[in-house]
Homo-oligomer: 239 residues x 2
C-alpha cells in the first residue's frame, strides 16, 4: 500500500461529508492529513474539531480560506481584516500552519484590478502582526487568471513570491496549486525562487481538455498537467 | 456620429453573416475595417473577397487565424507549416497586414506544454521567410491561460514579446486582446515594451462577472475590464 502519510485531502473535495465524517473517512484510508475548510470547522465546533483531529492522528495542512477583500467601503475592508484575524485564530486552534489566502476579485462595481491588488497588499501587511503572534502563516495561493474577476486578483506565483519577499518568510508563504499555475512558463523557476521553506503546502488536481466551465477540475491523471514532472521539480528543490 | 474609421469589427462576432453580408453590413454602419476569418474568405472566394473589400472601402485588420501546431507526427507538423504558408498567401491577397497566430494547445495525448512551446517557436521561425516574402506579418496573439490546454500554449504577452524580439519586428508583431490579457499585472509594461510599431491590431471586448463558461465574452462596457484606461496606455505609447 502506498505511503499516504505526507498526503492530505482537501476537505472541499468531499464536500458532502461533515467534519467528523471527513476525519474518520480519511483516517480509515490511511490518509495522513487534511486541509480543513472553515465552514465545516464552524459547524462542528473549533475545539471539537481540534480534539477529533488529534484523536484521529491527522495532521492539518491548512485552513481554507481567508475572507475576501473585494469590498468598496472602508468599514467593510476593516471588517474583512478583523474576520481574517479570527480565521487565523481558528487555524491556530486546530493546528493549521497556515490560512490559505484567497483574496477576492475585483470590487463589484469597480474595474480597478491594479488598485485592488494594492489594497490586498495593504491587507496582508495589516494581518501580518496577528499572524505572527498566533504562529499561523499567510498562505498565498495564486488563483488561475480566469478567477481574477470574481475570486482573486492574485493570479501569478511571481506576484505571490514578490509579496512573500516583502512580508517576510516568517509570516508568509506559498500555496501553489497545479490547476492554477500549470500553464505559467515561470512556474518551475518561481518554485525554485521560493525554495522549500516558503512552499507551505502544495495542491494537486488536473486540467481537463476540454474544460467545460470554470469549476470543471479533474482528478490527478485525467488531464494535461504533467504531475510527475512537477513533483520532480519539488524533489529537486528539497520540498 | 462617432468616427469609426479606425474601428474594425472581427467577423466572428457576426458569425451568421456571410462574407458579403459582413462587408456590406459593416460599411453601411460606417465601420472602417474588418478582421476576416479564413473560412468566410474561402467560402466567398479569395479574389472575390479582395475585390468586394476594395469596392466597399473597408480596410483589413487581419486574417484569422493560423492553423494549429498541436500535432504529434512530424508529417502533420510539416503540413501545418505548409497550410500556414497558404494562409499567409490568402492574407496577402485580401490586403491583410497580418495573420493572427493562434498556435494550438497541448498536443493531444501529451502533457508537455513546455516542449510544445519550443515547437511553436520553431514553427514561427520556419514561417518567417514566407511571411517576409509575401509582406504579411505573423500576428502573435497571446490567449488567456484558460485556453492553454486546447487552443494556444502562447498565453502571456511577455512570451509574445520575447518571440517578436527573436523573430524580428519586420516579420512578427503583437495582437493583444484585452479579454486575454486584462488580468496580467505586466499588461501595461509589456505594451510599452512592444511600442507602437509592434502592436499590429488590438482587440476589445469584455470579461463578464460572473463568467459562465470559456466562451462567455462580454460586449465592451458590460464587464470588469477598464477599457478607457487601456486605451489611454495605447495613446501614451503613440498607438
Amino acid at each position: 500500500m502506498a505511503d499516504l502519510s505526507r498526503f492530505a485531502i482537501n476537505q472541499i473535495t468531499t464536500y458532502s461529508w461533515s467534519m467528523p465524517e471527513a476525519i474518520e473517512g480519511y483516517a480509515a484510508q490511511g490518509v495522513g492529513g487534511i486541509a480543513c475548510w472553515r465552514n465545516y470547522v464552524a459547524d462542528y465546533g473549533t475545539e471539537r474539531t481540534a480534539r477529533h483531529l488529534r484523536d484521529a492522528g491527522l495532521w492539518v495542512a491548512s485552513l481554507c480560506t481567508s475572507a475576501w477583500f473585494n469590498v468598496a467601503a472602508e468599514a467593510d475592508f476593516q471588517a474583512a481584516i478583523e474576520e481574517n484575524r479570527r480565521i487565523l485564530d481558528m487555524a491556530a486552534a486546530i493546528g493549521a500552519p497556515c490560512v490559505v489566502m484567497v483574496v477576492g476579485g475585483v470590487v463589484p462595481g469597480s474595474k480597478d484590478i491594479a488598485g485592488q491588488r494594492l489594497r490586498v497588499r495593504d491587507a496582508l501587511h495589516m494581518l501580518a502582526p496577528h499572524a505572527r503572534s498566533v504562529g499561523v502563516k499567510l498562505g498565498l495561493e495564486p488563483l488561475h487568471p480566469m478567477y481574477a474577476g470574481d475570486r482573486s486578483v492574485l493570479n501569478l506565483i511571481s506576484h505571490a513570491n514578490d509579496l512573500c519577499d516583502e512580508l517576510g518568510e516568517d509570516v508568509a508563504g506559498l500555496v501553489p496549486d497545479v490547476y492554477h499555475c500549470w500553464w505559467d512558463p515561470a512556474f518551475e523557476s518561481e518554485l525554485r525562487r521560493a525554495g522549500p521553506e516558503r512552499i507551505l503546502t502544495f495542491h494537486y488536481c488536473d486540467w481537463l481538455v476540454p474544460t467545460r466551465n470554470l469549476r470543471d477540475r479533474g482528478m490527478v491523471g485525467d488531464g494535461v498537467i504533467d504531475i510527475a514532472r512537477i513533483r520532480g521539480w519539488r524533489s529537486r528543490i528539497g520540498h
